[in-house]
């Protein structure tokens, strides 16, 4: 079970389905998820909606053997911190990849997957995961 209600799922569609974040034109920094305030520029910020690149590299990873509620059927699974090509970082599961290929520096690309089991309102959470590419 993730903490999720229908309005939350609905609100996060652009982010979770399309990797929409934003970009501050003042300090040239990409944010994912989108931020309301640019932490670098604050009121001088020029934030514009922007889709993130769909590829990046693994900077750290872990294989999760004991997952939170709603992920019982998934374990074990890999989670990674990924730096996207525009330097924005993202935490995501790594799927469809050989275990040996999941390492620091590996190139990954976004795929669309079911994230966790049905919650009590009957909504299935979908979103991004990543897979290692050559």
């Amino acid at each position: 079970m993730t903490h999720a209600c229908l309005p939350l799922h609905w609100r996060r569609y652009p982010e979770r389905y399309l990797l929409k974040g934003n970009y501050c034109e003042n300090c040239k920094t990409a944010f994912f998820p989108a931020r309301v305030v640019c932490p670098n520029c604050r009121r001088k910020a020029l934030l514009k909606e922007k889709e993130m690149p769909r590829t990046g590299r693994i900077i750290s990873f872990t294989e999760v053997f004991v997952g939170p509620m709603g992920f019982e059927h998934e374990t074990p699974y890999f989670l990674a911190l990924i730096e996207l090509e525009n330097k924005a970082k993202i935490l995501s599961q790594i799927v469809d990849s050989k275990k040996e290929s999941i390492r620091e520096g590996a190139k990954v690309k976004k795929v669309f997957r079911k994230i966790s089991d049905t919650d009590k309102e009957g909504a299935i959470a979908y979103g991004y995961k990543f897979k290692v590419v050559k």
């Binding site: 079970m1 903490h3 990873f61 872990t62 004991v66 998934e74 911190l81 620091e104 994230i115």
Partner: protein
């Protein structure tokens, strides 16, 4: 300038208290602290209580009022403080500031968590709320997973090994043998940690702090007054707190907890001391790699050398610096209580009351409490209050 001292401390045993409720635990710790300080309940002017997830764990909010009620201290103001696993440390700092400001002279501060009323899965879900719900927990990141990502980054950058991390657990269990309130009284070896099974690689079961019930409380008093009424007052010579991004993705570095480094720097400045002047420290080792991060970020060892320092035994009891003489969080981590328990340990150590775990010649002690994966850090430094009645 007003100064603040601790004049009494009380802790429950840390462990699985199936026979005791949340309210019984906080009342037990609170009464012990009041008794230890030698004051009367009516002398207390305000209460601050740290708890992280009572709503999810026992279905009870409004903990401030509950504490005042259970201790028979109504109608004085009583306020809950929440900062995830740093709830206790931030409650202590809030109480410190309340006296420092001149508003009160005598304040009780407590910390508590009752974590075994729900299943382990529910408890870990509640703890997951200390990270970023929408970008971490949603994707299946547990708390051990977040620290595992930090552990791997440290291993990659500095060559820190799983054995070095295991040694942190070995040291914790060894020190815990001398702590009557510890959740475990069992020595372990590196092989035990290495064979304990991955929870989230590279972290194994014995790299993780346990699920614990427990409470701790302190009585804080303005120092001039403390001198007159107590011969065991210890002065809080520094109190500092810093914040960082809630989630890991916005961190500038994954090989440090910047909030710890910044709070520590501020604390050393307030106290007018250097890291090498600290005789003992109670650091926030929710995972073994958190121990390594802490001893580096607090300035005891250079960045990247924490693992080797542990390997060489430099953090053992009465070695170069005694880190976690109580056994630390491995000996029980009732999240909201931890920051208060650490200060209670400093109180025992500086009063020479720590028995078999006593740090020889302990003059200056430091406590370090972290919330989440490093989004909050609180550092306090203590010294025996000069001159008595």
């Amino acid at each position: 300038m007003r100064s603040v001292s601790i004049i009494g401390a009380g802790c429950t045993k840390f462990g699985e208290h199936w026979d005791k409720s949340f309210r019984e635990l906080i009342a037990e710790a609170g009464m012990k602290a009041i008794e230890d300080s030698g004051i009367e309940g009516k002398d207390i002017q305000a209460i601050y209580g740290g708890t992280m997830a009572s709503g999810r764990l026992i279905g009870q909010e409004h903990i401030g009022a509950l504490i005042a009620d259970q201790l028979g201290l109504t109608p004085i103001p009583s306020t809950r403080v929440e900062a995830a696993c740093a709830s206790g440390g931030v409650a202590l700092r809030t109480a410190f500031l309340a006296i420092k400001s001149g508003e009160y002279d005598m304040v009780a501060v407590g910390g508590i968590e009752k974590m075994t009323e729900v299943s382990t899965e529910e408890a870990s879900f509640a703890l997951g709320g200390a990270g970023d719900q929408e970008t971490e927990l949603f994707h299946g990141a547990t708390f051990p997973a977040l620290y595992a990502l930090l552990a791997r980054a440290h291993m990659q950058e500095f060559g820190t090994t799983e054995e070095q991390m295991a040694l942190c657990a070995v040291q914790a269990h060894k020190n815990g043998m001398n702590n009557p309130n510890a959740q475990f009284h069992r020595e372990i070896a590196v092989e035990d940690v290495m064979n304990s099974g991955y929870i989230s690689s590279p972290l194994k079961l014995l790299d993780c702090s346990p699920i614990t019930d427990g409470a701790a409380a302190l009585i804080l008093c303005e120092s001039k007054k403390a001198k007159n009424i107590s011969d065991k007052a210890i002065e809080i010579i520094a109190s500092a707190q810093a914040s960082d991004s809630l989630g890991l993705t916005e961190r500038k570095s994954l090989t440090e907890l910047a909030a710890t480094r910044i709070a520590a720097k501020e604390a050393y400045k307030q106290a007018g001391i250097k890291p090498k002047d600290v005789d003992f420290a109670e650091v926030h080792d929710c995972f073994t790699n958190a121990f390594i991060l802490a001893i580096e970020d607090l300035g005891f060892f250079r960045k990247g050398e924490g693992g080797k320092a542990v390997e060489k035994g430099r953090t053992q009891l009465n070695a170069e610096i005694s880190v976690n003489p109580s056994g630390g969080l491995k000996m029980g981590h009732p999240v909201g209580a931890t920051g208060i328990k650490q200060a209670a340990e400093a109180f025992e150590q500086l009063n020479g009351r720590a028995e078999k775990r006593q740090v020889e010649g302990a003059k200056t002690g430091l406590t370090h409490n972290v919330g989440g994966s490093g989004a909050t850090a609180v550092v306090h430094i203590f010294r025996k209050l000069e001159g008595k009645k």
